[in-house]
């Protein structure tokens, strides 16, 4: 099939999926899901990841299509929702909205909260649509490329994902990100291994034979530390001022058209890197906006582009994060990792064969992203002001309720009380790791990719009688191997000296 033909085929499938979505039931469900997502995004401590993790178990009884509507609605809504609190009270509801605080809150303080909110909403809408379009047309190409992957490529890609995620997401030292990734990899090795069926690290506990499930672990490493931290910390004060939209939005968007494309591309690019996700995308786009702005010294005092850049990028990262998920089975962000769990719960195994086994799935994902972004816009309009009232409720009341939802969410995942014990034990570990500034993202990515990396590595060695050269002797595997080496070297003084040498020359 020629490129044009496949383009037309994808476009028509996408249109068909978008139209078939248009039933009252689907519309109500998407509306409710986006509303819930925005609520998760607004409440500090909760995130898209926790929202999807909670709803994954809940959607078990629904058809796959309905489950996807709910989960993508929650995902898109939560990523946008974080910006509301970032702008109004200077507390990012989600990590991906942290960069929005820098200029969003000063705008609110100047009496421009409505301007900042509508800019965040429109940027999130554009970002999601942009990410969706790239996802729609790039994923089939990525899938074709992924079909060329053999065990060494998969192994190196998994290792590269963990390394890059560890380097970027560690707030303190990069080595801590890698240690978190290694701990995650080790957790991924628990249970019966694929090659020989040998039990590893189960210590006689029969419940561990099937491995450590990553959806409950997301609650353990993201939810439990946040619950404990929030109960200890003081209640924040809400002082949101009422004002009106006073800027010409469309001229601002026209003026920043190419910037928006660039921030969207940053979002997609970073979103597509395994495990990195929306948080980093927002910071990189903010930095880009600041560096290129004529009045860069004014950033941090309430510049419109300072709100537009992170909000475009973090929502574009959603489409980016789903590209490797669908084409390779490797999630681009922690919420995408939760989507992976949901897909597997519904008997769908993401990877290069997915679009062959389920040819409608890429247009279906894209159509749902389109509708989710439409509802993001509508719900954002309705919900922004009432949300501020919810935030006035004491955290000491909200957090116990959220704790109950987390516990029930873990149980709902597959009705196994043993998972509650696992979540408690790893929740304690997660709390201490969080306190020592070990990022949970590489740990969860390691957990997801552990088994895949292990079986790919040993399968490659088995096929070539233990010859290590085979791991790097193909162009693609060598590229991924080199990327791993460069990622490690980039955190050492060696790379610093090399950079200096080139700069001198």
């Amino acid at each position: 099939m020629s490129l044009l033909q496949s383009f037309l085929q994808i476009s028509s499938d996408f249109l068909a999926s978008s139209v078939s979505f248009f039933t009252l039931g689907n519309l109500v469900m998407m509306f409710a899901a986006v509303m819930v997502g925005i609520t998760f995004g607004v409440l500090p401590g909760l995130s898209a990841t926790i929202g999807i993790a909670l709803f994954t178990g809940l959607t078990y009884g629904y058809s796959f299509e309905k489950a996807l509507i709910i989960l993508l609605g929650v995902y898109v809504g939560a990523i946008y929702g974080g910006s509301i609190t970032a702008i109004l009270i200077n507390i990012p509801g989600t990590g991906s909205a942290a960069a929005t605080c820098l200029d969003g809150y000063p705008l609110a303080m100047k009496g421009e909260s409505s301007n900042a909110n509508i800019l965040a909403r429109i940027s999130s809408f554009i970002g999601t649509i942009f990410g969706m379009l790239i996802f729609l047309f790039l994923t089939p190409l990525m899938t074709k490329l992924a079909l060329e992957f053999t065990s060494p490529e998969i192994f190196w890609l998994a290792i590269f994902g963990i390394l890059i995620c560890g380097s970027i997401s560690a707030p303190d030292l990069p080595i801590k990100g890698w240690i978190a990734g290694l701990i995650g990899l080790l957790m991924g090795m628990v249970g019966q291994e694929d090659i020989q069926g040998w039990e590893r690290l189960t210590f006689g506990v029969s419940n561990l034979i099937t491995g450590i499930p990553f959806v409950p672990m997301t609650i353990a490493f993201f939810g439990i530390p946040q619950i404990v931290k929030s109960m200890r910390s003081a209640q924040f004060k809400i002082e949101a001022k009422k004002d009106r939209v006073t800027i010409n939005i469309w001229s601002l968007i026209k003026k920043n058209f190419f910037n928006i494309l660039r921030w969207g591309t940053i979002g997609i690019g970073i979103g597509a890197v395994p495990g990195v996700g929306e948080n980093i995308a927002a910071w990189v786009a903010y930095d880009d906006a600041k560096r290129r702005h004529k009045r860069k010294q004014e950033f941090g005092t309430g510049v419109y582009e300072g709100v537009m850049a992170p909000e475009t990028a973090n929502n574009a990262a959603i489409g980016g994060a789903i590209i490797p998920l669908v084409s390779l089975g490797i999630p681009g962000s922690p919420p995408a990792a939760m989507l992976l769990g949901a897909l597997m719960l519904h008997g769908i195994r993401p990877g290069p064969l997915l679009s062959i086994e389920h040819p409608q799935i890429i247009p279906q994902f894209a159509a749902l992203l389109l509708w989710a972004s439409v509802f993001l816009f509508i719900c954002g309009l309705i919900i922004t002001k009432p949300m501020v009232s919810i935030l006035k409720v004491s955290q000491k009341i909200l957090i116990p309720i959220i704790a109950v939802l987390c516990v029930v969410g873990v149980y709902a995942y597959n009705n196994n009380p043993f998972h509650l014990l696992l979540v408690f034990v790893f929740g304690v570990l997660g709390y201490f790791l969080n306190k020592m500034e070990y990022s949970s993202a590489p740990l969860i990515l390691g957990l997801i990719l552990g088994n895949l990396a292990d079986s790919s590595f040993r399968r490659a060695l088995f096929l070539h009688h233990g010859n290590l050269w085979y791991l790097i002797n193909r162009p693609l595997s060598f590229i991924f191997f080199a990327a791993c080496v460069l990622t490690i070297l980039s955190q050492t003084k060696v790379m610093h000296h090399v950079k200096k040498m080139f700069v001198k020359k």
Binding site: D172, I175, R232, V404, A412, Y431
Partner: protein
């Protein structure tokens, strides 16, 4: 060079964690060798496909990472002097420490002790009662609001969670 006390505290805990990691990774390496040789003996496989090889590599890289962390933390002023009984007692007496213990304690009570299928108590505790007790304990301990409000909020939340998850989502809660 130490920038502030927070960073110093961080490096102190890094030193302790690096040492724990080093011990754990050595244990992991030994464990990996044991299961690898056992698998090689039973299945007559080569070492490179033995189940312990990946965990052995993880153990090795964890050991190296822990050593790097230890050296970095030491260079930036981290030590183990904070583990002295006197300093430890100060941390032990802090409100933050006890609040953390209380939250984990209540979570343990809710998730492990009161959950019906965990046979710790040997008696049947319905989900709604466990949830109601947990919510009340958390809100009362941290003085969320007035006593009567706490009872009302806990009651309504328990009803809604039970209704939503058990009835609407059809999850077989205990």
């Amino acid at each position: 060079m130490i920038i502030d006390q927070d960073k110093k505290n961080m490096r102190d805990t890094d030193v302790l964690f690096a040492l724990i990691l080093m011990v754990a990774s050595i244990a992991l390496i030994i464990y990996s060798l044991v299961i690898s040789f056992e698998a090689m003996r039973v299945t007559d496989c080569a070492f490179y496909i033995a189940p312990g090889l990946p965990t052995l590599l993880i153990g090795f890289f964890l050991l190296v990472s822990a050593m790097i962390l230890l050296v970095t933390a030491r260079r930036q002023g981290g030590d183990l002097r904070w583990l002295s009984p006197k300093k430890f007692l100060v941390k032990f007496k802090s409100k933050e420490f006890w609040n953390t213990v209380i939250v984990f304690g209540y979570l343990f009570l809710y998730m492990i002790v009161l959950w019906e299928r965990t046979p710790l108590l040997g008696i049947h505790i319905p989900f709604w009662l466990a949830t109601f007790i947990f919510l009340n304990l958390m809100m009362l301990t941290f003085k969320a609001t007035k006593f009567l409000n706490i009872i009302i909020i806990s009651g309504i939340t328990t009803f809604l969670v039970d209704f939503f998850f058990r009835t609407l989502a059809r999850i077989p809660l205990p």
